[in-house]
């Protein structure tokens, strides 16, 4: 960790704080218009809502290494990854609100955020981002660039066929891809041990002869370090890596999840080890970030989020008949 300069450290903190604030605000926004009677179709933001509070370290630890030219694919739970990759928060929020000013003019929604400038995309289908990332990496290779592609997915996804096919293809063709498994211990209600025959998905890298790195703590610095090596390796043309990082899912699988499948106190325990708090405190202790500076960052990101929400709120909906546009370009 010695080689991390203060600016980077503060940046890691700032990005995680931004994401956390975004996800927490989104909880409130999501429930607007859904009380007293919950109706998934109602409210400011209808549909499913998968939030990533507790998983910021993975997105930020990895994406801080990336450039605009690098491609990232994400899964259904992807706000944190999009923000970490630099997707415009206003356009993203507007998309989540279904507005004309959104990334996809309201057509995509929260599971389908596409930003061709920042080279980010995500999908609601388990495992679907891995092959697409292989393709981006293949393109980088064919174009003679040192760009990499990163695919994020959950622990439950490591049992989907596309995981295997993509890792084999990437290894075989030495593609510059980094596969990042965010282990939040659940696939909806199913705990990892009930879906996965082994403990650590990183061990599966051996099936493809590639490095497998397991980061067993929800710690942005540890993730940053591990990802840095994997990404540098990919840029050098030495092929893909598989990273599994431990994260925590503080909220339900989606908003409205009754969470009857886990202990009521589990999340409280998880939050004690919160990676943002941990980094903030550590930076304070090291004198890198004073408590008032930290406060200022927290306020600034809250402001940024509030502005994005306001932007989305004020934006118009697309014209209904625009639904017929854009099947083809």
């Amino acid at each position: 960790m010695a080689n991390l300069d203060n600016k980077t450290l503060v940046n890691l903190y700032r990005k995680m704080a931004l994401i956390r604030n975004f996800e927490e605000v989104m909880v409130n926004v999501y429930w607007e218009g859904k009380t007293p009677v919950f109706d998934i179709a109602a409210g400011t933001v209808p549909g499913e809502m998968h939030l990533a509070a507790g998983q910021e370290a993975a997105a930020v630890g990895v994406c801080t290494h990336l450039r605009d030219e690098d491609t990232v694919t994400g899964p259904h739970r992807a706000h944190h990854i999009a923000l970490a990759k630099g997707v415009d928060i206003k356009k993203m929020t507007a998309e989540i609100f279904g507005k004309e000013t959104g990334l996809g003019h309201g057509k995509g929604g929260h599971m389908h955020l596409f930003d061709s400038e920042k080279k980010f995309g995500c999908s609601g289908i388990i495992g679907a981002g891995l092959p697409v990332a292989c393709g981006a990496a293949l393109a980088a290779k064919k174009l003679g660039k040192d760009w990499v592609a990163v695919s994020f997915f959950g622990d439950g996804t490591a049992n989907q066929g596309s995981f295997h096919e993509s890792l084999n293809l990437a290894a075989l063709w030495k593609l510059p891809v980094i596969f990042v498994c965010e282990d939040n211990a659940y696939a909806i209600s199913v705990p990892k041990a009930k879906s996965t025959a082994i403990d650590n998905n990183a061990d599966r890298a051996a099936s493809y002869g590639i490095p497998g790195i397991e980061v067993r703590e929800n710690d942005v610095l540890a993730i940053y370090e591990a990802a840095g090596e994997a990404i540098a390796r990919a840029r050098r043309g030495e092929g893909p890596s598989l990273l599994e990082v431990k994260v925590d899912r503080y909220l339900g699988h989606f908003q409205g999840d009754p969470e009857l499948y886990r202990d009521k106190n589990e999340v409280g325990r998880l939050r004690e080890n919160d990676p943002i708090k941990k980094l903030g405190e550590s930076l304070e202790q090291q004198g890198i970030l004073s408590s008032s500076e930290r406060e200022a960052i927290n306020n600034a990101v809250a402001q940024e989020v509030a502005e994005a929400i306001e932007f989305a709120r004020q934006s118009p909906y697309p014209k209904p008949e625009d639904a017929l546009k854009h099947v083809f370009v």
Binding site: D39, I40, K107, M111, G124, G161, S189, P320, E321, A323
Partner: protein, 340 residues
């Protein structure tokens, strides 16, 4: 509808779960598997409480490995078991379609009828609640296109239970489509019409028998699933305008009850097909063709189709509402037909 003493009302998802539970009690070969069907009770409640009643051996949560566990359902059925297996959203079929259509659906035929494959493949379908392009699809027409699958699409609780019991007792693969809006879930837009009297005892509903939900004289509206309720609302509206519409609930797409449709068209001379699926190359075209082949001369107006206009389901509410059929659009289409 069977008359019974009790007037117990049930939501569709509870009726489905009850149908499965009764078959599980009756027949030890019946078991359930799928993602989150255990403690969670199925994301759309189709397996609610089964885990508590029957335990983890008979109500099995699976990894997110649809190819493996749906293929395993076929394998277990070939050994004489009777799996009820869930594909959480029909939109996910693309990761496991080969097991469904090249194996579950074809093995009986390829074996010359020497095998039985008693699998019920349950799946949730439909939109209207802003779940966007990968979680709102319908797709029953796509499965109906492939020989070897029976396709069941209940519109209400009573039918749901009887069709489920028929499905479990069938020795052929049955795909059982559950419209999310019909299930009667606390977190979906309420649809009181789908909550019906459901007898506590076990009963079956035969496949291939449409239900005439409402008799009418001037136009036939053929549909299924949640659109039955939209069509009924439209018919009520039309009635106030003095237009008499007949509403047919197909209940199963395969087998398809052509006879009831054709008979109705011979009476009303006008046909509107309402489908929540994509318009082209699907259910609406097929029904149109069956009628044209059998009752062309009875038609006093072109057949009309109301369906999603060949676009993916958009997320944003005004966009989605624009592409989905609803009572107003159905009424308008029927009205314009009658005026022709």
């Amino acid at each position: 509808m069977t008359a019974t003493q009790t007037e117990r009302l049930l939501t569709t998802h509870k009726a489905i779960a009850e149908g499965i539970a009764q078959e599980m009690e009756r027949d030890s070969r019946v078991f359930v598997m799928g993602e989150d069907v255990g403690v969670y009770g199925g994301i759309f409640g189709g397996t609610a409480d089964l885990f508590t009643q029957f335990g983890a051996e008979r109500v099995m949560d699976t990894p997110i490995s649809e190819t493996a566990f749906i293929g395993a359902a076929t394998g277990a059925a070939l050994e004489g078991l009777r799996p009820v297996v869930e594909l959480m959203f029909v939109d996910f079929f693309g990761v496991c379609m080969d097991q469904i259509y090249n194996h579950m659906a074809k093995n009986i035929y390829m074996s010359g009828g020497t095998l039985k494959i008693p699998v019920v493949l349950t799946t949730a379908y439909g939109g209207g609640y802003s779940d966007a392009a990968q979680h709102s699809q319908v797709l029953y027409g796509l499965f109906a296109h492939i020989p070897g699958l029976k396709i069941v699409v209940p519109s209400n609780a009573y039918d749901a239970k009887g069709l489920m019991i028929s499905a479990i007792r069938d020795d052929n693969p049955v795909m059982y489509f559950m419209h999310k809006g019909v299930m009667g879930l606390g977190w979906m837009t309420p649809l009181p019409e789908a909550i019906t009297h459901v007898p506590e005892e076990s009963y079956t509903i035969p496949f291939g028998k449409a239900a005439i939900k409402r008799s009418g004289e001037q136009v036939t509206i053929v549909t299924l699933g949640i659109m039955v309720h939209r069509a009924m609302a439209a018919a009520k509206q039309l009635e106030q305008e003095g237009i008499s519409a007949e509403v047919i609930d197909l209940r199963t797409l395969v087998p398809l009850d052509d006879a009831t449709i054709i008979e109705s068209v011979k009476k009303t001379h006008r046909l509107l097909i309402v489908d929540e699926d994509y318009l082209s190359f699907g259910m609406s075209g097929e029904i149109c063709a069956r009628v044209v082949e059998n009752a062309l001369d009875y038609l006093d107006a072109p057949i009309k189709r109301l369906a999603v206009p060949d676009v993916p389901i958009p997320y944003s509410r005004p966009l989605e509402q624009f592409v989905l059929p609803n009572a107003e659009k159905i009424a308008a289409a029927a009205r314009s037909l009658v005026q022709l």
